[in-house]
């Protein structure tokens, strides 16, 4: 059973002469409950795929299917109950004037929940923050704590598919370990499917079951993590990336 299927996805920005093709003919499939990684260097189009799935990059063609349903250009709110995203920079992804409570409560309200108080409390426990952080503002939180809030916000609508855009690249390594552990626990506890973008092969190797290597907007190779660990990449570019990161 496939949770996310991408076929012949093209994403571009700008028009006519200024047109930049960020993703060219990408196709891959993520099974339900699987954790799939997208790796590549900056500008390879890996984050753009996430933005196309969520509708943040509006100019795309091809087929995106989530849980058997084709995604239309205009996404209903129900879509966002199924698919959520965690952004790269926790310092930029939280509104500077909204407290943790306000962020979570608004999200829950938008998705039509009524038992908001109890749910905010539970979300904070789920991401390991606890109640004393509930009324803090972002500037009173560390990077790791902010990222936990961002994860709590993404979990609020109880999605099935979580898109992770370099969720730890802005964090210290010790905090990265905490967040990666948290994500692994949440995936197990909530039966989530992950699509994770990263430039760090060892992070993807740790978190994912399979991965796709991207270069200049194209997927050059899809492989198992076992193959990655055994350094058995077939495409020369993947081999090059592996060499550079060991």
């Amino acid at each position: 059973m496939s949770m996310l299927n991408i076929e012949g996805l093209n994403v571009w920005f700008g028009r006519d002469r200024d047109r930049v093709d960020a993703v060219k003919g990408a196709s891959f499939d993520v099974g339900t409950g699987e954790s799939f990684g997208l790796v590549g260097e900056s500008g390879s189009g890996k984050s753009t795929i996430l933005r196309a799935i969520t509708g943040l990059a509006p100019t795309w063609s091809g087929r995106i299917t989530v849980d058997g349903r084709a995604v239309e250009k205009a996404r209903p709110r129900a879509f966002y109950k199924q698919v959520q995203m965690v952004f790269q920079d926790p310092y930029a992804s939280l509104h500077p004037r909204h407290s943790v409570d306000a962020v979570l409560a608004e999200t829950l309200k938008l998705h039509g929940f009524t038992d908001i108080d109890a749910r905010v409390a539970k979300l904070l426990d789920d991401v390991g923050l606890g109640q004393k952080f509930r009324f803090r503002y972002p500037h009173q939180l560390s990077g790791g704590q902010r990222q936990r809030v961002a994860i709590a916000r993404a979990l609020a609508p109880e999605p099935q598919l979580l898109l992770l855009d370099e969720p730890t690249s802005a964090l210290d390594v010790s905090v990265q370990a905490e967040i990666l552990n948290l994500l692994a626990d949440l995936r197990q506890g909530h039966g989530l499917t992950f699509l994770m973008v990263s430039h760090d092969l060892s992070v993807v190797g740790h978190m994912c079951d399979r991965l796709a290597v991207m270069k200049d907007g194209e997927i050059v190779e899809v492989m198992d993590v076992a193959a990655l660990r055994a350094m058995k990449a077939t495409h020369p570019y993947s081999q090059h990336l592996l060499q550079a990161s060991v």
């Binding site: 969520t54 509708g55 943040l56 996404r75 209903p76 709110r77 879509f79 966002y80 959520q84 995203m85 952004f87 790269q88 920079d89 930029a92 992804s93 939280l94 509104h95 500077p96 004037r97 909204h98 407290s99 409570d101 306000a102 608004e106 999200t107 938008l110 998705h111 004393k132 952080f133 009324f135 803090r136 503002y137 500037h139 009173q140 961002a150 916000r153 609020a156 609508p157």
Partner: protein, 302 residues
């Protein structure tokens, strides 16, 4: 914790309720503001002005409208008239005290109209983009293309002289800069991750503009309005001076200068005293604006 002082309760890292968090944030802002001496002076002057305006009948030694032609153009410090009298023998101090009401009235009305219009136009223009942006910004450009006082003059001429019309005219000429600021801020906020994040919760444009963009634009607008207040008072005074704002015998400060102008060489205090009042209040607003910028600017604050 019963032995916690109010100060500790307000400065806590772990607020226990929404209200507590709000109050705590406000208190921290107040502490930052309080440490700015000049801003506190500005605030003090303005609070004094509000008090004077409210208590004008109690404070004023004379009726501001009563004329005494026998005692016209009395100098400073003459008996019963600390700041002297004007060409019709009216007590200048009393007129200044009552004039504070008019000044506050103008300031309050303009501060309510101009930034709100600017915020609406600017954020909608910036967030929606496309042809809406083009149309709204060209209208803004048209307003910006005229000198402010000349445009206000034209409006007053069309609407008729009087203090309300002066306020409307000043507001109409004051909003375009606010729209520009709000639009510029909206453009940067619009592309930020936290707006993308709320979009992913299915939030619509109206909610994003009012709940997410406005709170961030308002602080810089407040600062800007405070700094502009001096200019607005001066514009109102200018209109009064030209006889298009407050009408005699109203003790509006600009109109008072206009009346005193004829005697400026021989009886300098008649025009100078209201001039000093305008200067003090304008300066107070500027000081306050500077202090508010330090507190409210989210970029510098964190």
């Amino acid at each position: 914790m019963a032995d916690m002082t109010l100060r500790q309760w307000l400065l806590t890292d772990t607020p226990t309720s929404r209200r507590h968090a709000k109050l705590s944030a406000l208190y921290q802002g107040w502490l930052a503001f309080r440490s700015n001496t000049m801003a506190m002076i500005g605030l003090g002057i303005l609070l004094l002005l509000v008090f004077i305006a409210a208590a004008a009948p109690l404070l004023a030694p004379h009726d501001p409208f009563v004329q005494n032609l026998g005692n016209r153009l009395a100098p400073l410090g003459s008996e019963g008239h600390l700041l002297g009298t004007d060409s019709l023998g009216r007590d200048i101090l009393s007129r200044l005290i009552y004039g504070a009401r008019i000044t506050l009235y103008i300031v309050a009305l303009v501060a309510l109209i101009a930034p709100v219009v600017g915020l609406l136009v600017g954020t909608v223009s910036g967030y929606v983009g496309g042809w809406v942006d083009i149309v709204l910004m060209r209208i803004t450009d048209i307003f910006l293309a005229f000198p402010r006082l000349v445009l206000a003059l034209a409006f007053v001429a069309a609407l008729g002289a009087g203090i309300e019309n002066a306020v409307i005219a000043i507001s109409l000429t004051a909003w375009p800069p606010y729209a520009r600021i709000a639009r510029a801020e909206t453009l940067t906020i619009r592309s930020s991750d936290y707006i993308a994040a709320i979009k992913l919760q299915g939030a619509g444009g109206l909610r994003i503009i009012t709940k997410h963009i406005w709170p961030l634009c308002i602080s810089s607008l407040i600062v800007r309005v405070t700094l502009d207040m001096a200019g607005i008072i001066l514009a109102a005074a200018g209109l009064g001076f030209l006889g298009l704002g407050a009408q005699p015998p109203s003790p509006e400060w600009g109109a008072m200068i206009s009346e005193g102008r004829r005697f400026i060489l021989d009886h300098w205090w008649v025009a100078t005293m209201p001039g000093l009042a305008i200067f003090t209040v304008s300066l107070a607003f500027n000081l306050l604006g500077d202090g508010l910028r330090d507190v409210l600017d989210p970029k510098a604050g964190e």
